[in-house]
Amino acid sequence: MLDGAAVNRTTLILVAIGVAAGILSGLFGVGGGILMVPAMVLLAGFAQQRAQATSLAAIVPIAAVGALIFGRADNVDLLAAAILVAGSLLGVQAGAWLMHRTSDERLSTIFGIFLAAVAVTLLLP
């Protein structure tokens, strides 16, 4: 049997992580996995794979709520979304295929530097 107190603690931690990820998702238009995965590993003691699987499933309702609220305010472009989805479904297959064949160390660095450059561009007036 699982220890009741530990289960309750995990429950509270998961709900709290959800709240934080939901705020981030609604505020910035992202899924929130970037917060949920490390938070589940560090705070709830989940293994990386379990955290990633759980995060993906939680992104579905979280992003759906945000998309609905933005959509009601006329801030969703349905046609653009359809084209982006088509492109991303192709891209995700290629990326997953390549992941098994390469080390992601250097790619992570390049991606991090690239994101920093994009961030600076966005911050410029």
Binding site: A21, G26, I34, I69, A81, L84, V85, S88
Partner: protein
């Protein structure tokens, strides 16, 4: 978006391709690529880019969770608990974002992106600890 011109369609397809590719490869790269791609390359409003990005991440997350569920890695109760908190947070976050001026939201997003960039770069350094197994010559 009205009837889109060819450059916009090509641009959107490329941004989607890049976002999907990085998500598949690094596990990061959905919204953090989609939103700046739409804003900087195609001139979308920050709000429209974010709302559209939210819709776009759903199919990929659905298909990923489906395969995790089939292979038994996904505990639905855990995801449900995250979603309970997440839905409440998403309502608050979305309404707050909609109340902000487009330029201000864009700058806030820039700060958020900068934090993610630093996290990726720092996490990469931390992984290279003394106990990290190195790929052997046969690997």
């Amino acid at each position: 978006m009205g009837p889109p011109d060819v450059p916009t369609v090509v641009g959107l397809a490329s941004i989607g391709l890049a976002a999907g590719f990085l998500a598949g490869l690094l596990g990061v790269g959905g919204g953090v690529v989609l939103v700046p791609g739409m804003v900087l390359l195609l001139g979308f409003d920050q709000h429209v880019a974010q709302g559209t990005s939210l819709l776009v991440v759903i199919p990929a997350a659905l298909s990923g969770s489906w395969s995790h569920r089939r292979s038994g890695r996904l505990v639905l109760r855990d995801a449900f608990l995250l979603a309970v908190g997440g839905i409440a947070g998403a309502v608050g976050g979305s309404l707050f974002a909609l109340s902000l001026d487009d330029g201000l939201l864009r700058r806030l997003f820039g700060l958020f992106l900068l934090a993610i960039a630093l996290r990726i770069l720092v996490a990469k350094g931390a992984r290279r600890g003394p106990g990290t197994p190195q790929p052997g010559p046969s690997g």
